[in-house]
C-alpha cells in the first residue's frame, strides 16, 4: 500500500534497530504516550528488535482506558433510557463500568433493549438527532486532543443549526498534564517520551518545550508506523546518550510546530480546560476538557441530571500502575487468568489500544519461548 508500505519495510527496520544498538551505551526507559503506538509496537514486535538496554513502557494514552468508571456508569444509565439514542465510537461499548447499576457495559444495555449505536464521526450523531427529533441523542465524547476538534464541531454545528435534542457526555483528556503527573511521581522511571503524533497534528508541540526543560526529558513527536516508532526511539536514545532534553519532531510529514490553528480555535471556543479524573490514575488538575459555559446546554450530565457520584474499581486491577509505566501487564496477578479481553477487570484489557489487551492479543508468550517454526514460503 502506497505511503504505508514504505514505513513497514523490514530492511529499513533492521537498519534502524542496528543504528539504535550502535549508539546505546546504557539502559534507558522510554514511554510511548499513545495507545495507538503501543498497539503498533506489540503488533509488529518492535520491542523485540530493540537492544536489551531499551525498555519501552506504555503510557496512559488510550482514551478508552482512562475514561473514569463513574462516567462509564453514567453512560450506561443514559443509554438505558427509552427516550435516548446513545452514540459512541466502537471500542467504548465493551468497557466495563463498576457493575453497580443496570448493566455491565454498553453492549449489555443494547442487549437489554437500549438504542446504542456505533458511529464513525460525531457528526453522524448530529445527523441522527436531526432524523429523530422525538429522541434525545447523546454522543460519548471521549479522547485526547485528537478527537476533540471533531467532537467540538458536532456541538458547534448542533448549536448553529438549532438541533436541541443533541448532547455530549464529555470525558476529554489532555496529554501534557498527564506527562507532568507521571514525571513528578516519586515512582517515575520514565527518562524519555515518544509524544503522540496525531495529538501534535492538532496541537503542535510548543506546549511540550517547558516540560522537556523542567524535567530534563527528551520528547520526540512520533508517528505510528514501525519505522516512525524506530526512528522516534533512535532520536530519543540519541538525545539521552548526548545528555540533551529537547522537543524534536519525527512525524514531520504530519505535524507542524504550531499544529492546526483552525482545530485549536474550535476546541477553545466549545471547550474549556477542567480538572479531570483519569481511570486507574486519579485526579489530575487542569487535565481535561469540559464544555464552555456558552455550550453548557449540550452537556448530557446536566440534561439528564447526573450529578456527583463516585464508584469503586476492582481492587485486583492495577491499571493505574500499568498506565504510569510502573508495571507491565503480565506482572498483574489477574492478567490472562481472571482478566482477559472477554472478561476484562479493567479498561486496559478492553480496547485494542489498551496495553493489557495488546499484550494479551499479541504476546501471550514470548517469541523466544517458541520452538523454531518453519515459517511460510520464504
Amino acid at each position: 500500500m502506497k505511503y504505508l508500505d514504505e514505513y513497514r519495510d523490514p530492511e529499513a527496520a533492521r537498519q534502524y534497530a542496528a543504528s539504535i544498538r550502535r549508539i546505546v551505551t546504557r539502559p534507558w526507559t522510554i514511554m510511548e504516550i499513545c495507545g495507538g503506538q503501543t498497539h503498533s509496537i506489540v503488533k509488529y514486535g518492535i520491542d523485540e528488535l530493540l537492544p536489551r538496554e531499551i525498555t519501552l513502557v506504555h503510557g496512559p494514552g488510550c482514551p478508552v482506558c482512562v475514561t473514569p468508571v463513574e462516567l462509564i456508569d453514567k453512560s450506561l444509565q443514559i443509554a438505558a433510557r427509552p427516550d435516548v439514542i446513545f452514540c459512541s465510537f466502537g471500542d467504548m461499548l465493551r468497557v466495563p463500568g463498576s457493575n453497580s447499576g443496570v448493566a455491565s457495559d454498553l453492549f449489555s444495555v443494547k442487549a437489554a433493549g437500549g438504542d446504542v449505536r456505533i458511529v464513525y464521526s460525531p457528526m453522524d450523531a448530529v445527523q441522527i438527532a436531526r432524523q429523530n427529533p422525538d429522541k434525545q441523542v447523546v454522543f460519548f465524547a471521549v479522547g485526547f486532543e485528537t478527537t476533540a476538534p471533531a467532537n467540538a464541531m458536532s456541538v458547534y454545528a448542533a448549536k448553529q443549526s438549532g438541533v436541541t435534542n443533541y448532547s455530549v457526555l464529555v470525558s476529554h483528556v489532555l496529554v501534557p498534564p498527564a506527562m507532568e503527573a507521571i514525571l513528578s511521581s516519586p515512582a517515575n522511571c520514565v527518562q524519555g517520551f515518544l509524544a503522540a503524533g496525531h495529538v501534535c497534528t492538532v496541537m503542535g508541540y510548543t506546549e511540550y518545550a517547558p516540560i522537556a526543560v523542567r524535567y530534563r526529558v527528551p520528547i520526540v513527536v512520533t508517528g505510528f508506523e514501525p519505522l516512525d516508532l524506530l526512528q522516534g526511539v533512535y532520536m530519543c536514545v540519541l538525545q539521552l546518550e548526548q545528555g540533551r532534553s529537547e522537543v524534536e519532531n519525527q512525524y514531520a510529514r504530519s505535524v507542524r510546530r504550531e499544529g492546526n490553528r483552525h482545530a485549536q480555535d474550535l476546541i477553545a471556543r466549545v471547550f474549556r480546560v477542567v480538572d479531570r479524573k483519569w481511570r486507574g490514575i486519579g485526579g489530575i488538575p487542569q487535565s481535561g476538557l469540559g464544555l464552555a459555559d456558552e455550550y453548557a446546554e449540550f452537556d448530557a450530565q446536566n440534561r439528564f441530571g447526573l450529578g456527583d457520584y463516585s464508584a469503586q474499581e476492582d481492587s485486583e486491577c492495577i491499571s493505574g500502575l500499568i498506565m504510569q509505566g510502573a508495571r507491565k501487564p503480565h506482572e498483574c496477578s489477574a492478567y490472562g487468568k481472571r482478566c482477559t479481553p472477554d472478561h476484562p477487570l479493567g479498561a486496559p484489557m478492553v480496547s485494542s489500544e489498551g496495553a493489557c489487551a495488546a499484550y494479551y492479543r499479541y504476546r501471550r508468550l514470548r517469541t523466544a519461548d517458541l520452538p523454531q517454526a518453519g515459517g511460510g514460503s520464504e
Partner: protein, 351 residues
C-alpha cells in the same frame, strides 16, 4: 433466585458474564465458542458433533454422507458481489465441500417480515436459483414463515444441505499434524469490507466486492487428483484467524503463518487502515484453508490455481509442534506474535 445466590461461591472479581444473549455470541469469536462449549455441545454431544467440523459426517446404510445447516441474517440484504440468496446457497454448499462431500441437496426455510416488498423476495429467490444451478445442487424441500412487521429484518434464510463422500480420505480438524503445509485459496477480507462499507454507507474509490462463491469444484479437483487432504476449513465469520485457531485447538498443534504470504487486496488493506480493522478477522465467503502434507503442497497449489475461485492459492505457513492451540504470525518485520481469537466482532477504533 436470591436463595441460590447465597450459596454461590463468591468471586471477588466482577464477572462480566451477561445474562442476556449479546451480538458477540454469534460473532464467530471466543464468546460464540463459550456458548458452544458451555451449552450446546454438552446438551447434544455425540461423536459426529464433537468432531467440530463444518458439517457432520455420517455413515448411513453403507453410504458416507455429510450434513450441515446454516442461517443467514445478513444486513444489508444486497451488497456488492452478492446478496442473502447467494450466501444462503454458497455458505451451505461450502460447508459440505469442506467435509470433502459432493453437495447434492439443500433445504431452505424462509422467515419473511410482514411488509417486505415482493420484488425483493423475487430477487433473492432468483439469486438462490442461479446460485444453486452454478453449484450443482437441487433445492428439494423448504418452508416459509412470515413474522409481524418489526420482528424480523426483511428476510432470514436457513438452509441445510446433504452431500455424499465418495472417497476414503479422512478430512477432519483432528487429522491435522505437524509437518502439514497450510494453503490459502486466495486473498482475504473482501466479504467483510463489502458488507461493512454498504452497511455504514462508506464509499471507496472502487467498490470492494464480496468473494461469495461455491468451493466444491477446486475441492473435487484435489480429491480427483488423489491429494491426501488432512483438513479443509472455509474462513467465514471470524476470518482466517478464527478458522486456524479452531483447527489448532481441535488438533493440539500450532499453526505458524507468515503475514507477508497472506494475500490482501490493496483496496481491502486500505479500508482496514482507515477503519482500524485487521483483515485476519474479516469474514470471507469464498475462501478456504487446506492442510496437506508438505510433499503434496506444490501439487495442491498448482491444482487450486486452475480455478478462478482459487486462482491465487498460496502457501501461508506450516503446522508445527505446540504450544497447542496457538496460531502464530511472523510479522512483516520478521518478529513473531500470537494471533488471538476475538471476543466477538471487531470494533472500529476511536483513533
Amino acid at each position: 433466585m436470591s436463595e441460590v445466590k447465597e450459596f454461590r461461591l463468591q468471586c471477588p472479581a466482577p464477572v462480566n458474564d451477561s445474562e442476556r444473549v449479546q451480538l458477540a455470541h454469534g460473532g464467530g469469536g471466543r464468546r460464540m465458542h463459550e456458548l458452544l462449549e458451555s451449552l450446546l455441545l454438552p446438551s447434544f454431544g455425540n461423536e459426529a458433533l464433537l468432531e467440530r467440523h463444518d458439517g457432520a459426517t455420517l455413515k448411513i446404510a453403507g453410504a458416507k454422507l455429510a450434513f450441515t445447516t446454516d442461517s443467514y441474517v445478513v444486513r444489508p440484504l444486497f451488497f456488492p458481489g452478492g446478496d442473502i440468496g447467494t450466501l444462503a446457497i454458497n455458505g451451505t454448499v461450502n460447508d459440505l465441500a469442506m467435509c470433502g462431500a459432493r453437495p447434492l441437496y439443500l433445504s431452505s426455510a424462509l422467515i419473511l417480515e410482514e411488509g417486505l416488498p415482493m420484488e425483493i423476495l423475487r430477487r433473492v429467490v432468483e439469486s438462490m436459483r442461479v446460485s444453486a444451478i452454478a453449484a450443482g445442487v437441487q433445492l428439494v424441500t423448504g418452508d416459509t414463515k412470515v413474522v409481524d412487521k418489526g420482528k424480523g429484518d426483511g428476510i432470514f434464510i436457513n438452509t441445510a444441505g446433504i452431500g455424499v463422500i465418495e472417497h476414503d480420505i479422512l478430512i477432519s480438524p483432528k487429522n491435522v499434524r505437524p509437518g502439514d503445509t497450510i494453503i490459502l485459496s486466495g486473498d482475504i477480507g473482501r466479504h467483510g469490507i463489502a458488507i461493512m462499507a454498504t452497511r455504514e454507507g462508506l464509499s471507496f474509490e472502487s467498490a470492494i466486492e464480496s468473494d461469495c462463491a461455491p468451493l466444491w469444484e477446486p475441492v473435487q479437483a484435489l480429491l480427483d487428483a488423489g491429494v491426501e487432504i488432512h483438513c479443509l476449513r472455509d474462513l467465514t465469520r471470524g476470518g482466517i484467524s478464527s478458522g486456524l485457531i479452531e483447527i489448532a485447538e481441535a488438533s493440539g498443534v500450532r499453526c505458524a503463518i507468515t503475514q507477508a504470504d497472506v494475500p490482501v487486496l490493496e483496496e481491502v488493506a486500505g479500508a482496514c487502515e482507515i477503519l482500524g480493522l485487521d483483515p485476519l478477522y474479516l469474514a470471507n465467503e469464498g475462501r478456504f484453508a487446506a492442510f496437506v502434507p508438505n510433499d503434496e503442497a506444490d501439487r495442491t497449489v498448482q491444482i487450486l490455481r486452475q480455478f478462478a475461485v482459487s486462482g491465487d492459492a498460496v502457501r501461508i505457513g506450516n503446522v508445527v509442534d505446540g504450544p497447542a492451540g496457538l496460531v502464530t504470525l511472523r510479522t512483516e518485520l520478521g518478529t513473531e506474535r500470537v494471533v488471538d481469537m476475538l471476543s466477538g466482532e471487531q470494533l472500529p477504533r476511536i483513533c
